[in-house]
Amino acid sequence: MKKLALSDEILLTIEKPARYIGGEVNEVKKDPSEVEIRFCMCFPDVYEVGHSHLGIQILYDMFNKRNDTYCERVYSPWVDLDRILREKNISLFALESQDPVKEFDFLGITLQYEMCYTNVLQILDLSGIPIYARDRTEEDPIVIGGGPCAYNPEPIADFFDCFYIGEGETVYDRVLEEYKENRRVHGSRRDYLERIARIEGIYVPALYDVDYNPDHTIRSFVPNHPNASPMIRKQVQMDLSHTYYPERPIVPYIKAVQDRVVLEIQRGCIRGCRFCQAGMIYRPVRERDVEYLKGMASSMLASTGQEEISLGSLSSSDYSALPDLVYYLIEELGKKGVNLSLPSLRIDAFALDVMSKVQDIRKSSLTFAPEAGSQRLRDVINKGLSEESILKGAADAFAGGWNKVKLYFMLGLPTETEEDIEGIAVLADQIAREYYVIPKDKRNGRVSITASTSFFVPKPFTPFQWVRMCTAEEFLQKKDVLRRKLMEQLNYKSIRYNWHDAEVSILEGVLARGDRRLSGVIYNTNKKGCLYDSWSEYFHYDRWMEAFQENDVDIDFYIHRERALDETLPWDFIDAGVTKEFLIREYRRAQEGKVTPNCKKACSGCGAMVFHGGVCYEERKGDSV
């Protein structure tokens, strides 16, 4: 019988012991003594959140298909267990074998949001792995980072031995083969890192030197070893219909955030919204074959017994075979009592039809993400959603029986004026007015509109990577402007307004565009007991601010200044496909309020064509035949 790392007494004292015992349906079981490589995959957040991440499930499946490798999992212990592990000096362990993480060959940590950085340090600390990569010995696992935040790895570069930039399907096999080879020739940890520095997409921070100007901007960023490439090119899996996909995903016992089968229908996005990092770094857009997806849906549902399936992508409405796929799923799943959880769709006749088929109209709501309140500002951010289409979509939906609308906006976008902010209130009110156009006897009660705003955080590899971010005070003023304007609206009683926390946004902003000088700040913050910064009840802004002071780091430098276009940015050494020239061009067009057409309409020459794919590439290939 499976032996657990924690005693009954501990497991029965903490919340949700099932987070720490493994043994779920479809967990991969191997004898650790019979493999050559032990890889521990980590999502640095609580089990229910981490388990819901598709990327890890794909890599778990991919690694475990190798006979010489056993990939296991670890998530952040919740605060209750964190305390106990420290008190009793228990080493953090992997779920499958319950063996200490420290005994593994690799610890892979996915970085999905900046606010998980203190949790990364918690994982290292509880595992007994030195927090700074430079302090690690031959006994310690190789700590490798990946995920979207690895596109600017600099704030946490000192904690990682290496980063994998881009999609995991391409060069991980080489990373593991080199490990075996290095072991065979009795190479050291350092030898191994120098070896893998030659693999495209692998960044070994220790092999680069950064030099700063007196004003703290970067003077130079250069390799200090011949194997280290001056530019690291992101990895892209071009053929998504003939590659790894977890046909037998793990089924958690406790309810995970994503308690369903997830079908990733495409990667990348054709839209080119200028604030959106995902829309830039995941280019080019690549679809999975619809027949492949249908087959995958059936096998995943059969192997998991899940009651629900959802579609994953950045913009599902742009998937070319969406109606085919959705109608097939509704039909097939309906027979088996499985629900289709719809992604947010552009509201049109198709969307309303499928929504009415899979959701209870009285309970479900329409979702629009105009992101900005005026057409002028929507043009600046290149959000191709017009007021006309929002109002038309809402009117059609209201006529179809819906009466709930959710609206998502950002405050603090570049060039934003008071008028743009007030436009949010006016738009919300106009939508409500559309509802009352319907004859009274056909209305389904009152209309309910929820407007939510988040604060704009400029991200690397977007056309807004140079812009100044607002201060917390400015954000809160903007929020007040909007609240006041909402009160003036005719239908204000039907409009609810939610806003995000400004302080978390500020920190996210600092970490997103930070450099190596931030590692000391993150280290100190964690030492002050900060954990789970993305959970508002555990977020301590004051402790972060203390840590900045202790390290003599000024947050204004990172967020409250406009960067010069010729400044060396900390992430400039990463080649994400989209070129700097394209980003500058887009930035200029934004300032002029000029819209750039989406990739299906016209190629804007972003640079991602170097990966030999995407709608623009397919078209050109067609032309030349």
Binding site: M1, K2, L4, D8, E9, L11, L12, T13, P17, A18, I21, G22, G23, E24, V25, E27, V251, Y253, I254, K255, L301, A302, S303, T304, G305, Q306, E307, K336, G337, N339, V358, Q359, D360, K363
Partner: protein, 247 residues
């Protein structure tokens, strides 16, 4: 048609709570491709009834659940299909097709008919009672001779003084047990058998009996020292005798 299934829950699965066990079985039944009847509406769900929720930390040889199927392969087939999709820690070991409910009578389900349960309570290794085994046993026999056993029972409305003696139907140090029982066994060998009231009208957790005994014998009570294992669940049959839910 409704079937009743008996299953075991053991090993690390003792840390899975009742609601999660329900969700687990819904998925297991789908994986086993049994044709289950779904409720109507936008979120169809399976019509399922568990006999008696098992607390987190307890193991069991006899948990029961009723589920409605639209067509039923043989009971053997149901068992084979379910066991093929069970992880370690769950095992299905009996299946019975329930007779159709006669017209105009209330449909019974597993939950509503439970009346008693057998438990084995064992001292986990690494814990002490403060008494030698024989001494502990004789004290326990004296305890069971009491006319009344008063405890403070906590409920939603607050605490209240309750006499639990009438809810303890049997106790002792020998019992009938399936040789392949999944209960955990300990070096110290201190175990006690209890048959207590179970079900929706009266329910007594065996932990409370041990706690009351510790107070009676002036022994210190440690909430994590005891492993409780459920051996069987009973209903009253026509002659008011206890009969396992699947005879």
């Amino acid at each position: 048609m409704t079937i009743r299934i008996r299953f075991r829950k053991y090993g690390i699965m003792k840390f899975i709570g009742h609601l999660d066990v329900m969700r687990f079985f819904q998925k297991a039944i789908r994986r086993a491709e049994l044709n289950v009847v779904y409720s109507q509406g936008f979120s169809p769900h399976q019509v399922m009834s568990f006999a008696a929720p098992l607390g987190v930390g307890l193991t069991s040889d006899a948990e029961y659940l009723d589920v409605e199927l639209s067509d039923i392969p043989s009971p053997e087939e149901v068992l084979a299909r379910l066991n093929a999709v069970m992880p370690e820690g769950f095992c299905v070991n009996a299946c019975q097709i329930l007779p159709e409910t006669p017209p105009n009578t209330r449909k019974e389900n597993a939950m509503s008919i439970v009346s008693a349960a057998d438990y084995i309570v064992s001292l986990k290794d690494g814990y002490q009672t403060g008494l030698a085994r024989e001494e502990w046993r004789s004290q326990f026999c004296r305890f069971m001779e009491s006319d009344r056993i008063e405890i403070l029972k906590k409920s939603k409305k607050g605490t209240k003084q309750t006499d639990i003696r009438p809810m303890i139907y049997e106790s002792g140090f020998s019992w009938q047990e399936n040789p392949d029982s999944v209960r955990e066994r300990y070096e110290n060998g201190l175990t006690v058998f209890l048959r207590t009231a179970a079900g929706s009208t009266q329910n007594l957790k065996p932990e409370l009996v041990i706690e009351a005994f510790c107070e009676f014998a002036n022994l210190s009570w440690h909430p994590f020292a005891w492993q409780v294992h459920r051996l069987e669940l009973y209903r009253h049959n026509a002659s008011q005798a206890f009969e396992p839910l699947i005879p």
